[in-house]
């Protein structure tokens, strides 16, 4: 019987949030002041201590991962994914519980972690390699391969501060891809970089785990990549493990998850000056629409400190996580004039979608294309496989339909 590569038992990570300080770090002055306050309080016999709250970033997590598995870690922002990776890669200590890891762990966390902008590509390969846990001899042996993979031969002796962001990512990934850890942890770095390179990376990761029996842990918001790359997935929400199983099943539950839980809109961007608080499709929360009919979106928002021109947009995802349509208000050449206070906007759209379940993200830009708000996968609707006159849909290729005029 093979032993699991990673075994997590009753793992919890607790943070103490203190409500009194807004600052990221404590200053000596505050500490002294608080000590003094506490003293006077004690003598007065009363008053509570500073407001503190325990917060579980991870709460009683149990799972096992076997060698050769490619596991996707799925969850919304704040679900505990990053904390899990941090605990697994020993950056922070768990508060309780136990993790047993068999094999070397290497993580590819963020683009160019440990790169020094002043050093050349060549020097950074050695630096980055050492940071990721490679021995010098190992880096030397693989040096040519790394340079080849990153496609940066010409710029080897240029300081990386002059690199384009694409080159930066390529170099970072190339070094990490040539690590030979038994367990590789990847946290959504592939978001940047050109499509061709992404493909190459994904290929390499698949290769690594299939042919060499290594384990990959992959965090991403891109359900499509998770589905193609990972054979298994784990879904997190609110610091708890919700479900684990095959990727296609877990991706589906992730997309559906909004339907079960109490609807809390996840604001991926913005959400401060202008906040989208309700979206309805065809006047309903779980609309079913016929083929080639009309979709009417009603977006309610609250502009607390914003007034002026604003551009709304709607993104429609299918149940594989692919964004199949992006609808922007400026496609019409117009902006919405928003006044502060509550408001609402109605969007009417011809439905060109093939039958299936769809998920909607809604957001708004200001005139300068910076996000006012972006709520992620907030609502869903279903396109039925009947036309509005009752005829049945015939399966075919293609992701979208079109109402065309046919003339003989």
């Amino acid at each position: 019987m093979t032993l699991p590569a990673i075994k997590v038992e009753q793992l919890s990570k607790k943070f103490i949030i203190s409500h009194e300080s807004q600052e990221r770090y404590t200053s000596l002055r505050d500490v002294i002041a608080n000590q003094a306050k506490r003293l006077t309080r004690r003598t007065r016999k009363g008053g509570s201590g500073p407001a503190k709250e325990e917060f579980f970033a991870l709460n009683d997590i149990n799972f096992e991962i076997f060698p050769g598995d490619r596991v996707g870690i799925i969850g919304r922002n704040g679900a505990g994914k990053s904390t899990l990776l941090k605990v697994l890669s020993r950056i922070t200590e768990p508060s309780s519980g136990r993790i047993t890891i068999r094999g070397r762990v290497a993580s590819l966390l963020e683009v160019g972690t440990g790169f020094h902008p002043e050093l050349t590509g060549r020097e950074n390969i050695f630096l980055n390699g050492a940071i990721l846990g490679m021995a010098r001899s190992e880096i030397k042996r693989k040096f040519d391969e790394i340079v080849d993979f990153a496609e940066i031969e010409k710029f080897l002796d240029t300081p990386v501060k002059r690199y384009s962001s694409g080159m930066y990512v390529r170099l970072a990934f190339a070094v990490a891809a040539h690590l030979e850890p038994e367990i590789l942890i990847v946290d959504e770095v592939l978001a940047v970089g050109d499509a061709q390179f992404q493909k190459k990376c994904l290929g390499k990761m698949e290769d690594v785990s299939k042919n060499e029996g290594r384990t990959v842990l992959f965090v991403s918001h891109n359900m499509n990549i998770i589905k193609t790359l990972c054979n298994k997935s784990i879904l997190f929400a609110g610091g708890k493990l919700i479900k684990s199983g095959s990727s296609s099943e877990i991706v589906k539950s992730y997309l559906d998850f909004g339907d079960h839980g109490d609807k809390v809109y996840t604001h991926k961007m913005g959400g401060k000056e202008l906040r989208i608080n309700n979206v309805e499709i065809n006047g309903s929360k779980a609309a079913t629409v016929a083929l080639l009919s009309q979709l009417i979106f009603k977006i309610d928002f609250e502009a607390s400190s914003f007034s002026g021109d604003c551009e709304f947009f709607i993104l429609i995802y299918n149940d594989e996580g692919v964004c199949v349509q992006g609808i922007f208000q400026t496609d019409t050449g117009q902006y919405a004039a928003v006044r502060s206070g509550a408001g609402s906007i109605k969007v009417t759209l011809d439905n060109n979608l093939v039958p299936g379940k769809y998920y909607v993200s809604v957001g708004a830009f200001d005139r300068f294309k910076s996000f006012l708000d972006w709520v992620e996968l907030c609502e869903s609707f279903e396109v039925q496989s009947v036309y509005d006159d009752g005829r049945i849909f015939r399966e075919r290729l293609g992701l979208s339909l079109g109402r065309a005029t046919w003339e003989a």
């Binding site: 950056i91 890891i101 940071i131």
Partner: protein, 278 residues
């Protein structure tokens, strides 16, 4: 367990577990330590016009000013056989090393926060590598000492061979203090402002421009609680043959060892929470 499986290292992560393998881990990560030190040395004088010459110019200019102020204006150089410039420079060397190390190391953890929040390694590597950088500077400045001796036709006494012992002492003094302060700096950013201040007035309360024998006898032991007093006296004994005041020297040694111990202890205690606090 099969032979194959036994070759795979097994790691258990539990709350409070990291204690056990600490020093072993430090050894295992030595290569990272080399490369981080190399990086810091390499980038230290990048994009400067005169590069490493800075590590000669700074002590040289300070030495000249001190020689003029203390030697000529304050007449401390009266009835001295040894050129006063050499006496001052013998103290300037360890002092600059200490001051640079303290200044560099105290900000080192914060400067490397992107590494600390993203990968695991024994955190002690970071301040240690900034002390190493200052040590390289020290080495370069020491070359100037040789030139200075040649210029004045000065031959050091035989105990100059013991100098490495005092170099190690300076190293420990810098390292212990730096560990303590850099760990505190993660939590309380006040130390960012305290350090330049300490470095500034430390130059005047340490016997850099004058000999510690100028301090009244009854205060000398107390004065030696400044660890740099012992270090500087040691350097002067090796280089210019100035007699060493033994009780004071031992007191300085004790303070250095004390700082090393609390530095390491405090650092290790807080190290685990660096990633959460930084």
């Amino acid at each position: 367990m099969s032979a194959l499986e036994s070759t795979v290292p097994e790691l258990v992560i539990e709350a409070g577990h990291s204690e056990k393998h600490y020093w072993l881990d430090l050894w295992r990560y030595r290569e990272l330590f080399y490369i981080l030190s190399w990086r810091d040395i390499k980038v230290r004088y990048k994009q400067t016009a005169i590069g490493a010459a800075w590590s000669i110019i700074r002590p040289l200019l300070t030495m000249i000013i001190f020689t003029i102020i203390y030697g000529k204006l304050a007449h401390f150089a009266k009835d001295e056989i040894v050129p006063y410039a050499i006496t001052v420079y013998a103290a300037m060397l360890p002092w600059q090393f200490f001051a640079n190390a303290l200044a560099e190391a105290s900000n080192s953890l914060i400067g490397n926060s992107n590494l600390i929040t993203k990968i695991y390694f024994p955190r002690m590597i970071i301040p240690a590598s900034s002390v190493i950088v200052s040590f390289v500077d020290f080495g370069i400045s020491a070359l100037l000492m040789i030139l200075l001796m040649a210029w004045y036709h000065f031959l050091p006494p035989v105990q100059v061979l013991l100098l490495p012992v005092f170099v190690i002492m300076t190293f420990l003094a810098s390292f212990g203090t730096s560990l303590y302060i850099t760990a505190l700096n993660v939590k309380y950013r006040d130390f960012r402002y305290i350090i330049p201040f300490i470095v500034q007035f430390g130059l005047y309360i340490s016997p850099v421009g004058f000999k510690s024998s100028k301090v009244p006898e009854q205060w000398r032991l107390l004065y030696s609680l400044n660890p740099m007093v012992g270090v500087i006296d040691g350097f002067r004994w090796c280089i210019v043959g100035e007699p060493i005041y033994l009780p004071g020297f031992l007191a300085s040694c004790a303070v250095i060892i004390f700082f090393c111990i609390i530095g390491i202890r405090y650092f290790r205690k807080t190290e685990k929470t660096f990633a959460d606090n930084i």
